[in-house]
């Protein structure tokens, strides 16, 4: 297709002209078709399944039962609503800690210093580590009997904790893992935002006598708003969908008492551990709508603020 202006025989020239005139869709459509097919067909199918009593195997006979799966899900106070609650606790809790910690670390790294390179490498490593392996690593460290976590507490005279195996401590423990792995991501994003800032507003505030906290709160943070929103968006998308470390450390159903069963783990379990496709699909559709709604809310707030 390397077409130059040289005179060409007509079919080739015609094709080249056609390709160049339609390059917009020629370029864009393969990717869109692949993604579209991978999403659209499954989504329609999932919606259909959510209206049936499919169970055991999708190829087995199943009947159309209307919205009763949804009714079943919404009245399920044993698994569904606790899973919703855990999803919000996990996402919200991890997100807040990651943002605060991430901002603190980003501010520490902001101005140049010696050994910067090494600190940056240390921050990058958790980020690229395989989540399943990270889960296993923490499973050993948090092991109640042989783990380093309790050994460390012992040095300070604090009694040993059950961590992952405790009903109350399991969820905070997996949140800790998420925070360890993903705070670096927030740091990198905020740091990129900070380095792109111009120095003048900060200088002006300094000359006006503002202290470090005032300069951060009234100057730097407002200027950084769009970057913070991007960090919140990216992290909440991924935190809502967290699966790997939960399934790797606690297995099916999020543990014997479903301690870490979020919506994602619940839906996965219904689909592939219990083959209850009808109900699973209903949960998935609700989960999907929930994510869309949250994303919409975040971007809406962002637009509002820009409009002001």
């Amino acid at each position: 297709m390397s077409a130059t202006t040289a005179v060409r025989t007509s079919p080739q020239k015609a094709f080249s002209d056609w390709a160049n005139n339609h390059r917009k869709w020629l370029f864009a459509s393969p990717a869109m078709i692949i993604v579209g097919l991978l999403i659209a067909i499954p989504l329609v199918w999932t919606i259909y399944l959510s209206l049936t009593n499919a169970e055991g195997s999708v190829r087995a006979e199943h009947d159309f039962i209307g919205l009763s799966n949804y009714a079943e899900v919404f009245t399920d106070v044993d698994r569904f609503w606790p899973a919703v609650l855990r999803t919000f606790i996990f996402t919200g809790g991890a997100l807040v800690v990651e943002l605060v910690l991430g901002m603190a670390i980003a501010l520490l790294l902001w101005r140049p210093f010696r050994g910067e390179r090494w600190v940056r490498v240390a921050i990058l490593l958790p980020l690229v580590a395989t989540p399943v392996a990270v889960g296993m690593m923490w499973k050993l460290i948090f092991d109640p009997n042989i783990g380093f976590a309790n050994q460390l507490l012992g040095y300070f005279g604090i009694p040993a904790q059950p961590w992952l195996s405790g009903q109350a401590t399991a969820l905070p423990t997996v949140m800790f893992m998420d925070i360890w792995q993903w705070t670096p991501m927030v740091v990198l994003i905020l740091l990129a935002g900070l380095t792109a800032l111009s120095d003048e507003p900060d200088e002006a505030a300094r000359i006006d006598g503002a202290n470090a906290w005032q300069r951060f709160w009234y100057v730097t943070l407002p200027l950084l708003r769009t970057t913070v929103v991007v960090a919140v968006l990216l992290r909440s998308i991924d935190a809502l969908k967290t699966f790997d470390i939960l399934y790797a450390t606690k297995g099916k159903g999020g543990g014997a008492f479903h301690e870490v069963e979020t919506l994602n783990v619940y839906a996965y379990g219904l689909s592939f551990d219990y083959n209850d496709y009808g109900v699973a699909s209903a949960v998935l559709i609700i989960f999907f709508l929930l994510i869309i709604a949250i994303m919409w809310l975040i971007t809406l707030r962002r637009k509002e603020k820009v409009a002001k």
């Binding site: 990717a31 580590a129 690593m137 042989i146 360890w180 990129a192 380095t195």
Partner: protein, 291 residues
């Protein structure tokens, strides 16, 4: 603005340093200590994993042998010798490579078109794949591909990993093309190239840093992906994360072996990360600073 690889990231005016507040020295100390604590918090767990992979299970259970122990390579020998781990390493590498290559092939032109023609809505379709939870697609995928007799083969795994790679590549490359001036292409067209010719000969060569960035990230994400392979892989096409996960269920927690398996999956990716740090950072922060 500082989207895809831009060397301006580090360039800071030197005048900064002179205007330090009076308590600068105290702050310097505080900062140094804080940074050391941060580095230790991120590095120590990984070091613990590495140490444990060289310990016998007896030593792992012995608190007095936290740091002083006789290293053993048995764990690695066991892991790599038993359950054909080399096959899993190959699987992970091949799937990561193929899904990234194919995604670049369709993703880069798409990102270019979406950037140059401001196709916001079309981009939304591709980026929807970033938002949608993978589980919600897995059941239908499983049955469609089972009917096509593809489950357990490489093609399905590559396709499912493309689902992760494609939005990533489109997102990063769009912000890269956004920052690439259009004038170069325009002048190339004035000089007689067709629009597609200008893309192939001018834009693409200039996009190598962006392509490298998105390719590295895509390989990492594919290598680390767990859920798709958990459902769609067969006994011989298992990827490393799935192999590690299965390790737990039948070895009633052989901690040394488990840590060796974890090291086998994480170390290659970390080595790559060390050498491509700049690209990874610019890719992860792509689009972070524009409105």
């Amino acid at each position: 603005m500082t989207t895809a690889p831009s060397p301006t990231l580090r360039a800071r005016p030197a005048t900064r340093r002179r205007r330090r507040p009076i308590r600068s020295r105290a702050y310097t100390w505080f900062r140094a200590i804080a940074l050391i604590v941060i580095v230790l918090a991120f590095i120590l767990p990984l070091a613990w994993m590495l140490l444990s992979s060289f310990k016998t299970n007896v030593d792992i259970y012995d608190a007095s042998k936290t740091l002083v122990f006789t290293p053993t390579f048995d764990n690695f020998a066991n892991v790599l010798g038993r359950n054909n781990y080399f096959q899993f390493i190959f699987n992970s590498a091949w799937i990561a490579f193929a899904s990234t290559a194919l995604s670049l092939l369709v993703g880069v032109p798409a990102a270019y078109a979406m950037s140059r023609f401001s196709m916001g809505r079309s981009a939304g379709v591709v980026l929807l794949a970033r938002i949608i939870p993978g589980v919600s697609l897995l059941v239908p995928w499983y049955f469609i591909f089972a009917n096509l007799r593809l489950v357990g083969g490489y093609s399905v795994l590559i396709l499912s990993h493309m689902f992760v790679a494609l939005p990533l590549i489109v997102y990063i490359m769009m912000s890269f093309f956004d920052s690439l001036p259009e004038e170069l292409e325009e002048s190339a067209q004035v000089d007689g190239l067709t629009p597609i010719g200008a893309f192939l000969r001018i834009t693409l060569p200039l996009s190598v840093p962006g392509i490298a960035t998105s390719a590295i990230l895509s390989i990492i994400f594919s290598w680390n992906n767990f859920m798709f392979a958990l459902v769609l892989s067969g006994a011989n096409t298992k990827t490393l994360p799935v192999a590690i996960f299965n390790f737990v269920s039948y070895a009633s927690i052989d901690w040394g072996g488990l840590m060796a398996a974890a090291v086998v999956v994480t170390v290659p990716i970390m080595v790559i990360a060390l050498f491509t740090q700049k690209y990874i950072v610019s890719g992860l922060t792509a689009g972070a600073t524009k409105g």
